[in-house]
Each structure stands twice: as structure tokens, then as C-alpha cells.
């Protein structure tokens, strides 16, 4: 029975491991290597410069600002997005009034709401960012026009042009476009929780809030935890980059108020011709990401519940 087992395993593992190595591990190693050079990214010539890029990073104000913004996003975005998504999903699946035949149901029209929530997910992040850029236009954008229409003529913020608001504008867009996915994901998770649990809780006279914290959340914990890691990585990487790059075009907001790590990597590599320094920032981003995932895994560890 054991005959050929190794060959079987090796056969299965070689290809994926090779691809993983080639496209994931190797670029990491290369990046770390390049962060010790003075490579410009515009010519094949470079030489080793030791830790120069790292000492420069240490004194770089813009880097610290970017780091601060990225960390803020990675802490707050999952918190806000997942809380909202959990609330919405609960209302859509469990939170409705009792109707005949079904002890457990969502609010009226929940199927429709699900589609509405999921809608932003269908749009490309670039389109979302562009749309919101128009909405935030202080001169003729939807938001200020709305404020004007309801008589708030005196409240006409510059939104993306105001360093105190710009990052929160970005944050709102990120929440808007990620929340729907988790509503659907958590809805699926909630649907697989046996109805008898809820019925039992209802018979015992549990309120909705109690039901949520005693039944739904614990049984959904695994999903929430992976969702947490997922949004966090979005907040650190692709999603925040796209939104910041498109909406606060240029340097990352007024007076660096929205700059984030991936944007700074991009600017150094593809605008300033300092690819080596960009890889140094990239290495820092790698550590932030690893740290984040480690924290999530550690904090999120709970006893597994089976049903």
C-alpha cells in the first residue's frame, strides 16, 4: 500500500512548490538583496551599499507618516468593516421579526439588501475610487451639493483637499467597498448554523443581542478571523494603494496626509528612480504584514467549536 507514496507526494508537491518558490519566495529574497544596493531601477548597474538604505529609512519622515497611516488602516479598517458586516449579516439572516412558519428570518427584503451590499464588490476598485473622487469634488460634487440642498451652505468641506479629512474620506471608501463582501460571506456562515440553536435560544427567551454574542459570533469565529486577516492585508496592500493613488492623486494627499506604504514604494520605484530604496520600504511593509498576521492569529485563537 505504501508503495510509490513518496513519488506520489513529490509528484503533487513539486509543481506548486516550484511555482510558489519562483513567484513568491524568490522575489522576496531578491527584494531583500536589492535593498542593500543602490539600484536605480533604470539601468542594470548597481553596487552594494550595506545598510545605507535602512539608515535613510530611519530618518525618513514620509516613511514614518506612511507607516502611521498604514497601521491606522490595518487596525481600524477590519474593526469597522467586520463590525458593520456582522451587524448587517445578522439583521439579514437572524434579526428579523418572527413571521409565520419561520422562527428565524432576516428583515423584510433581505435578499434585495444582500444584492445591494454586494454591489460595490462587482465594481473595479479603480472605478469606485474615480466615482468617489467626483463625489468628493468640493465645488460640484455630490456630497457638497447634497449638503447645500439640505440647507447646510456653510458646511462645504474640501474633503480630499483637507489634510484633516482626506484620510477619513479614503477610509470611508475602503469601508464602502469591502463591507458587502463580508455581509455575503457572514450570511453564508450564518446560514450554516443550525436553526435549532436559535430556536432553543428563543424559547429560553434570549434577546437578539444575546443570541448574537452567545450563538452567532462564537460559531462564526473562524470566518471572522480569516476575514480579519484578509481585510487587514487589503488595507496594507493593493486596495489602499489603488484608492490613495487614484483619489488623492499625486503625492498622497495634501501635505502627505494620506500617503501609505505601498504608495510610497511605488513612488520611489517608479517616479524617483530609486528602486533599491523602494525595496527597502517594501521589506518594511513585509514585516508590518507579517506582524499583523501574527497578531491576528495569536489574538484570534479560540477553541474550535464544532457543530
Amino acid at each position: 500500500m505504501q508503495h510509490g507514496k513518496y513519488r506520489f507526494i513529490v509528484g503533487f508537491l513539486t509543481a506548486p512548490l516550484a511555482i510558489y518558490g519562483l513567484f513568491v519566495i524568490w522575489p522576496f529574497i531578491q527584494s531583500i538583496y536589492y535593498s542593500f544596493t543602490d539600484w536605480s531601477g533604470l539601468s542594470p548597474e548597481f553596487k552594494m551599499v550595506g545598510f545605507k538604505n535602512y539608515t535613510r529609512l530611519w530618518d525618513d519622515e514620509v516613511f514614518w507618516k506612511s507607516l502611521q497611516h498604514s497601521v491606522m488602516l490595518v487596525v481600524l479598517l477590519p474593526l469597522v468593516t467586520l463590525t458593520m458586516a456582522l451587524f448587517f449579516a445578522f439583521m439579514l439572516n437572524v434579526g428579523g421579526r418572527r413571521r409565520k412558519n419561520a422562527a428565524i428570518a432576516g428583515v423584510r427584503g433581505s435578499a434585495f439588501y444582500k444584492v445591494v451590499y454586494f454591489f460595490p464588490q462587482v465594481l473595479s476598485i479603480a472605478i469606485v475610487a474615480l466615482l468617489f473622487q467626483f463625489a468628493y469634488n468640493p465645488n460640484s460634487g455630490a456630497i457638497n451639493s447634497f449638503l447645500k440642498a439640505i440647507g447646510l451652505d456653510s458646511v462645504q468641506p474640501d474633503w480630499l483637499g483637507d489634510p484633516d479629512l482626506a484620510l477619513w474620506c479614503i477610509f470611508a471608501v475602503l469601508v464602502w467597498c469591502t463591507v458587502g463582501f463580508f455581509v455575503v460571506l457572514f450570511s453564508a456562515g450564518m446560514a450554516s448554523i443550525p436553526k435549532d440553536y436559535y430556536e432553543a435560544a428563543l424559547l429560553d427567551g434570549a434577546s437578539r443581542i444575546t443570541t448574537f454574542f452567545k450563538i452567532t459570533l462564537p460559531l462564526l469565529w473562524d470566518t471572522v478571523q480569516s476575514g480579519w486577516a484578509y481585510v487587514g492585508i487589503l488595507a496594507l496592500g493593493a486596495e489602499s494603494f489603488a484608492v490613495v493613488q487614484i483619489m488623492t492623486v499625486g503625492p498622497g494627499g495634501p501635505d502627505y496626509s494620506t500617503t501609505v506604504l505601498p504608495l510610497y514604494v511605488y513612488q520611489k520605484a517608479f517616479r524617483d528612480g530609486q528602486a533599491a530604496y523602494a525595496t527597502t520600504i517594501g521589506v518594511a511593509l513585509l514585516f508590518v504584514t507579517l506582524l499583523f498576521v501574527a497578531v491576528v492569529m495569536k489574538l484570534g485563537r479560540r477553541e474550535r467549536l464544532e457543530y
Binding site: T14, G21, P138, G250, D272
Partner: protein, 482 residues
């Protein structure tokens, strides 16, 4: 079957063992794959130049008549038609040559890897938001010296060298340190204060030459519900287009040169403070269109063409860029920045004009002569006229506007240049220190001041700090006016 977690089962592979072994396998796989992966920065290829052709009168650069030529053009505000037309001329002159023509908006993404591999195309229009940093390209010796092109006879008049047919400042802009000319700026941009002559007439006002007059015009406009100024709030580095020449006008050329040279305390010059305070007054008096700090260049231009604001600092590309929203009777005009008063060091008319659309021939291109020959064709009168009439912009070729109908903006630009005469300034900080100029001085300093979040004194202090930082930073190449 063996159990999945057995350690004692000698023949079985436990889950943990499997993980360990696959990790080991991964460790072996990583370096091996390294050999297979095309390195991000391999230095193979390159340096296989084509042979030179025969130097004749018609072919002064000794182009190899049958060698292939590759051109990559930035597809931006000017489109690509002008370059394709010029390419057709090359094909006619060298029927045996195979010309490969392509265009992109993402110059850097497309070409950076090719520079890295040492196989760049023969001629590039290195322009747009994804422009490759020229300072780095020059510093890393990636560009060909264009001096042979400048010393070649011009295509129209064999008695004249190409360098003698160019507008003032074009050659200097292509140089960095010393004699070689690395970049051929093809377009010629007039920067300044842009406005609608019709709107100004509607206010019964003339273009103001002093700052008091400027404030008076703005006050007049405000009464009619029109803002005096708007600018690209998200890209406040448009503000210098009128602010820098104003500084030169008030304090003399040397002030701008000192700024370009990153001299200590260059920004502390009284002229800088005077001009900053003048602009700050626009904000304080409420002459800047509400919400401007949140607008990008297109949005601010649109508000301006809609008549919500009178003046906008911009470059001559605005005529083409804002064409869609500009009313037919807008009567676009440009003027030199207003000064403070008659005690200014330079006369009214002092304006910023300089090259745009930088063309480069890579040092490692296979057919450098072909690339330069293509530029020689483009710098001829016929191609230059074709460019001007189709995209409403001047070219580096001095002249080439006779006999074509000029659009209002272009006409006013030509007039402004004529009025300026020798008083054309060309602040180099914009092409020498892109990051410093755009996001530090522009967004961090001027943008904040124009939005009212910094006073002129604070802005100057902050900007001087940025400039000192850049002067100390040895990761960027430093340049000085010769």
C-alpha cells in the same frame, strides 16, 4: 494506508514530517528556480549597435539605411499623429528601413524593464505622469549625447546647423552638467496666467500689471460672484507657473537661480516673501474659488472654463486639454504674471517658457543615428508646422508658425513670448528635482499656504527646510546653473 499523524510508523509519512520535508524541498527549489527566473536586473543584451551608414549630404548623421528603427511615443495631450507623420517621412527617406512605431501612456512601465535589460528602443518621447527620471538616466549613463544631431545641418537649410534653428533655452534644458545635450525637448510651453479675454472684457477690466491692480480686478469679479483665481488644488505645483516668474520679476533672475541651485537660504530672499504674501492675500481676501484645494487640474480647469473663476496658472497645453469644456467664444489668453509695482527688477512681460515633450535617444539603443535622424526630421519646418497646427502648441523649432491659422491661446502665447523678448525665465527645479518641486514645495508648502493652512512665513520656513534636505540628500543627483 498509513495514518496521517503516525510518527512510529516507519514507512508512513506523518503530517509533520511532510511539512518538514516539503519545507526542505522548498529551500532547494528556491535557489534552483533563481537560475531559471529572468533576473529583475540582468545586464545581458545591449551594445550590439548597427553599423553606421555612409555619410552624405542627404544623410549627414550617417544613418544605416537598412537598419530597423524603433520609436516609442507618449500618447498624451498631444496625441501621436504628429510623430506618425514624421515617421512616414523617415520611411520615405530610408525605404529599406523597417520602422517599428508604438505609443503608450505608461512610458515607465513599458520601458523601464527594457532599459534594465539593455535593449531600449531608438527614440523615446519620455513624457507624462510616468516619465522616467532624467536625472537618474543621465547619472547612470543611459542616454546618448545628442550633440551630433545639433551640429548636423538642418533639414530645411543645409547651411544652418540644427542648433541654430531652435528656440532659446531648448539646448540648455537638455544639458545637465557640462556640454553634452541629453534631451531634445520638442514642444515649447508658455507658462503664465491664463484667462478668458471675454470674461475680462465683461468686467470692463484690463489685464493687471501690478498687484494692486490684480486685487482690484479680483474685487470687481467678486462683486459679480466670480472668484478671482482657481488652481489645481490637488496639484498645487501648478501655482509656480505664475509665481516663479513673478519672483524673478520682483527680485531678479538670480533669485530663481539660487533656488534651483539649492543654495542655503535661497527661499529667504525678500522677493520670495513679497510674492508669497501677495498670493496669500488672494486667499485672505476670499478671491480664490471656494473648494479649490480639493480640485484636481481637470476639475479646476473646468470650473474656470465655466466662468466660475477668472485666472488660472497653467501651461500652454491647457488650450488642448480644456478644449472640451471651453466655450467657443471663450477667447483664451495668456499673460505674464503681474508684478508688485514699478520697483520690480524685471519689466512686466517676464514669463516662464521652456521645452516640453522630452525626446531621448538611449545610449544602448541599437540605432542611435536613426533615432537622431528622426529628431532631425521632426525639427524641420514641415513637421514643426504640422505639430503646431494639429495640437495647438509651439515646437522647439524657432518659427514654423507662418502661414498657419493660430488658435486664440496660441496666438496670445506667441505674443507673450514676443513681448518677453529676453526676459524668459526657466526655473530648472521642475526638471532637476521632481519630488522636491512637486510634492514637497508644491503640495507640502504652496498648497498648504494657498489653502490658508500656513502663513507665508511658515510656508517659506517649511520649503527652505525641504530644499536644505534635498541639498544634503546624496541619493539624488545635484545640479547647478552653469
Amino acid at each position: 494506508m498509513g495514518s496521517t499523524s503516525a510518527h512510529n510508523d516507519r514507512e508512513g509519512v506523518g503530517r509533520r514530517d511532510l511539512i518538514k520535508r516539503s519545507a526542505a524541498l522548498g529551500l532547494i527549489a528556491v535557489p534552483t528556480m533563481g537560475f531559471l527566473s529572468a533576473c529583475a536586473s540582468g545586464d545581458s543584451g545591449g551594445d550590439e549597435k548597427v553599423d553606421k551608414g555612409k555619410k552624405t549630404k542627404a544623410n549627414p548623421l550617417a544613418v544605416n539605411e537598412s537598419a530597423p528603427l524603433e520609436i516609442v511615443i507618449f500618447d498624451g495631450g498631444f496625441g501621436t499623429q504628429y510623430a506618425e507623420d514624421a515617421k512616414a517621412v523617415y520611411e520615405k527617406n530610408f525605404p529599406d528601413a523597417k520602422v517599428k512605431f508604438s505609443s503608450t501612456q505608461k512610458i515607465q512601465s513599458v520601458l523601464q524593464p527594457r532599459f534594465n535589460q539593455g535593449t531600449p528602443p531608438d527614440l523615446i518621447d519620455n513624457s507624462g505622469a510616468e516619465q522616467m527620471d532624467m536625472g537618474v538616466l543621465v547619472g547612470k549613463k543611459q542616454l546618448a549625447d545628442l550633440t551630433p544631431l545639433l551640429d548636423a545641418p538642418s533639414i530645411d537649410d543645409p547651411a544652418k546647423k540644427v542648433r541654430d534653428t531652435l528656440r532659446p533655452g531648448i539646448i540648455e534644458m537638455g544639458q545637465f552638467d557640462g556640454d553634452p545635450v541629453w534631451i531634445m525637448y520638442y514642444a515649447y510651453t508658455v507658462y503664465g496666467v491664463w484667462y478668458s479675454q471675454k470674461a475680462l472684457d465683461g468686467l470692463d477690466a484690463e489685464y493687471p500689471e501690478t498687484w494692486d491692480d490684480m486685487l482690484a480686478v479680483c474685487a470687481k469679479a467678486k462683486k459679480k460672484g466670480i472668484a478671482g483665481w482657481t488652481y489645481a488644488g490637488k496639484y498645487p505645483y501648478y501655482v509656480p507657473f505664475s509665481l516663479y516668474p513673478m519672483i524673478a520679476k520682483v527680485g531678479g533672475r538670480e533669485v530663481l537661480d539660487a533656488i534651483d541651485n539649492l543654495e542655503p537660504n535661497a527661499w529667504k530672499h525678500p522677493a520670495v516673501k513679497t510674492c508669497f504674501e501677495a498670493y496669500y492675500e488672494l486667499y485672505k481676501k476670499g478671491y480664490i474659488l471656494k473648494g479649490t484645494p480639493g480640485l484636481d487640474h481637470i476639475q479646476s480647469q473646468t470650473a474656470w472654463t465655466e466662468g466660475k473663476a477668472l485666472f488660472i496658472p497653467n501651461g500652454s497645453w491647457v488650450e488642448n486639454e480644456a478644449a472640451k469644456t471651453m466655450p467657443k467664444d471663450f477667447d483664451l489668453a495668456v499673460n505674464a504674471p503681474s508684478g508688485i509695482d514699478s520697483s520690480d527688477k524685471m519689466p512686466f512681460g517676464t514669463i516662464w517658457a521652456s521645452g516640453g515633450e522630452p525626446f531621448i535617444v538611449p545610449a544602448k539603443a541599437k540605432n542611435t543615428e536613426g533615432g537622431m535622424e528622426q529628431l532631425r526630421i521632426m525639427l524641420g519646418e514641415a513637421s514643426s508646422k504640422n505639430f503646431t497646427s494639429s495640437v495647438k502648441s509651439l515646437t522647439a523649432f524657432n518659427g514654423g508658425t507662418d502661414g498657419i491659422e493660430l488658435t486664440p491661446g496660441l496666438k496670445s502665447g506667441v505674443a507673450a513670448l514676443k513681448k518677453a523678448g529676453d526676459n524668459v525665465v526657466n526655473p530648472r527645479i521642475q526638471d532637476w528635482y521632481v519630488a522636491l518641486q512637486k510634492e514637497k514645495i508644491g503640495v507640502g508648502g504652496l498648497g498648504e499656504m494657498m489653502a490658508g493652512r500656513l502663513t507665508p512665513v511658515e510656508a517659506i520656513k517649511k520649503i527652505q527646510g525641504y530644499a536644505d534636505e534635498a541639498a544634503k540628500d546624496d541619493s539624488i543627483q545635484h545640479y547647478k546653473h552653469q
